[in-house]
């Protein structure tokens, strides 16, 4: 028994020693924190293409709501690159721990999504305030949630529409999932989510230019990151012609 216990205590220590000496630098890893609305274009196109161009580089994505990502970067600081769906959360990261090479790389517009067949007959943003419509939005503080409330305020129907909200979801992808499952009548997400490349099983209803909100996506290298040099190369790729072409095919507009 005593021997067993001694082994329990000592073995992890041995393992820890072995672990550090066995580490090699054959592959370098790049950690990219990106807004969940970038999931498809980053994981399907930009990530694999960047890996193919750079031997031995592995791009790891952490995808989520930009507000959550900013909070994680501020408390843990493990990101090399931050691609945010709003300038506000990039400002927060610029403030602490700091960023370099900031550039706006894409724009996105809002669109109403409904389940296939549009059961509630939504034709315009004003219809979302009709009694009985079940609406799903991203929560306040999540960029797409704030943009959606801004667009509703522009349309002059914010109060009536908020009364129809049945759930404040944690991020853009959760809103889309609820609509794709047919659980609610409508949601507000990014236009890139309904592009042909995104391949989502929802019906889109345009929001007029007079009330729509343009989301601008900034990207930057996070200060103090493990691989800042490679991070700068990645940022250049995303803002360069190949990255821009990929973004365009996924329904993003170029940054102005």
């Amino acid at each position: 028994m005593r021997v067993f216990l001694a082994m329990v205590v000592v073995l992890p220590l041995l393992a820890a020693c072995g672990g550090t000496s066995a580490t090699t630098d054959e592959t370098s890893e790049l950690t990219v924190f990106a807004a969940s609305s970038l999931t498809d274009v980053f994981t399907e196109r930009i990530g694999p293409a960047f890996e193919a161009e750079h031997d031995g580089v592995r791009v790891v994505f952490n995808l989520g709501a930009s507000d959550s990502l900013a909070a994680q970067i501020r408390s843990e600081g493990t990101a090399d690159v931050f691609a945010s769906a709003s300038g506000t959360w990039m400002d927060a990261v610029a403030d602490d721990p700091g960023i370099t090479g900031r550039a706006d790389f894409a724009q996105n517009r809002l669109v109403i999504v409904t389940p296939p067949g549009n059961p509630a007959g939504i034709a315009a943003i004003e219809d979302l305030s009709e009694p009985g419509v079940q609406l799903v939005l991203a929560a306040e503080g999540v960029p797409v949630g704030d943009y959606a409330r801004e667009a509703l305020a522009n349309a002059g129907t914010l109060d009536g529409t908020l009364a129809n909200v049945v759930s404040n979801e944690e991020d853009n992808a959760s809103v889309l999932a609820k609509i794709a499952a047919g659980e609610a009548d409508a949601g507000i997400v990014y236009e890139s989510d309904v592009s042909a490349a995104a391949g989502s099983d929802v019906n889109a209803v345009e929001i007029g230019d007079d009330v729509n909100v343009i989301a601008t996506y900034p990207i930057a290298v996070v200060s103090g990151a493990p691989s800042t040099e490679l991070a700068a190369v990645f940022v250049a790729y995303v803002t360069g012609p190949d990255g821009q072409a990929a973004l365009a095919s996924y329904g993003f507009d170029p940054a102005t």
């Binding site: 507000d67 944690e170 047919g182 659980e183 609610a184």
Partner: protein, 260 residues
């Protein structure tokens, strides 16, 4: 006879205690106590607290109503495939709650396998309602009732029931006067575990029932939403939740251990 506890055990036990209690302590240290007065109004704590109590109690009752008979069947019946049935029934304990939530959506959501039919014929919709929160919470809590009750039933010597029958008691009378009293501690343990689990339920609820203050936003969901916009409020909400859970476990500790 008492034997001396070996030193390595002490060391590992101390690490174990520190591991569990440190996050708790850190929340107490990080709580912005000077904002205590205003914290609860901003985070809608009262609403979330009321909803949490209603949902967790309803889920506990539902777990008992369905779980105890289920445990009885598992412990006493001789039908084939019981071990498979038991594995399926207790699966939610080890399954990620978000997976449970997705499964519930696919089954009972408005567009789900059964939910579509419920919605079209009876106009019943569970998602985004308090009933949805109760269903999601029951899904993760009920297995604890089943496990506790079944192990209690197995530990009861069936000769007591035989004796009761020999003395002229019918099966129902024997259950009510002989088995249930002996099963009491196990039922209490199951109920408390289910309630404590229900209070902390997050993943299945947010996935299936959504997140709306006053309707489906229980305390854990309120903590999650407040953590970015109002970190101090999120810590206070967390402390309420922890205090409630500790209260439940401490208050019922003696009842749980009595039977073993």
């Amino acid at each position: 006879m008492r034997s001396r506890t070996p030193l390595p055990l002490w060391i590992l036990a101390a690490i174990g205690v520190a591991f569990v209690s440190l996050p708790l302590l850190a929340l107490l240290i990080r709580a912005p106590w000077s904002d205590l007065g205003t914290a609860f109004t901003g985070a809608g704590a009262g609403t979330a607290l009321r909803l949490s109590i209603v949902v967790s109690l309803a889920a506990t009752v539902l777990s008992m109503v369905l779980g105890v008979p289920l445990a009885w069947v598992l412990a006493r019946s001789t039908m084939p495939g019981r071990s498979v049935l038991r594995a399926i029934v207790v699966l939610p304990i080890v399954m990620p709650p978000v997976v449970g939530g997705l499964g519930l959506l696919a089954a009972l959501g408005r567009g789900g396998v059964v939910g579509r039919w419920l919605h079209e014929t009876a106009g019943i919709q569970l998602t985004f309602t308090i009933w949805g929160a109760i269903v999601a919470t029951t899904f993760v809590s009920m297995p604890l009732v089943v496990l506790a009750t079944e192990s209690g039933l197995r530990s009861i010597d069936r000769r007591y029931e035989g004796a009761a029958a020999a003395l002229g008691a019918g099966p129902r009378y024997a259950i009510r006067r002989v088995v249930l009293p002996m099963l009491g501690p196990s039922l209490a343990a199951g109920a408390v575990l289910a309630w404590a689990r229900a209070l902390g339920e997050f993943g299945a609820t947010i996935t299936f029932a959504g997140n709306l203050a006053g309707r489906t936003q229980t305390l854990p969901l309120a903590v999650y939403e407040a953590r970015l916009t109002d970190p101090g409020g999120a810590i206070f909400l967390s402390l309420i939740l922890i205090a409630m859970s500790i209260g439940v476990l401490v208050a019922m500790r003696d009842r749980i251990t009595q039977g073993h």
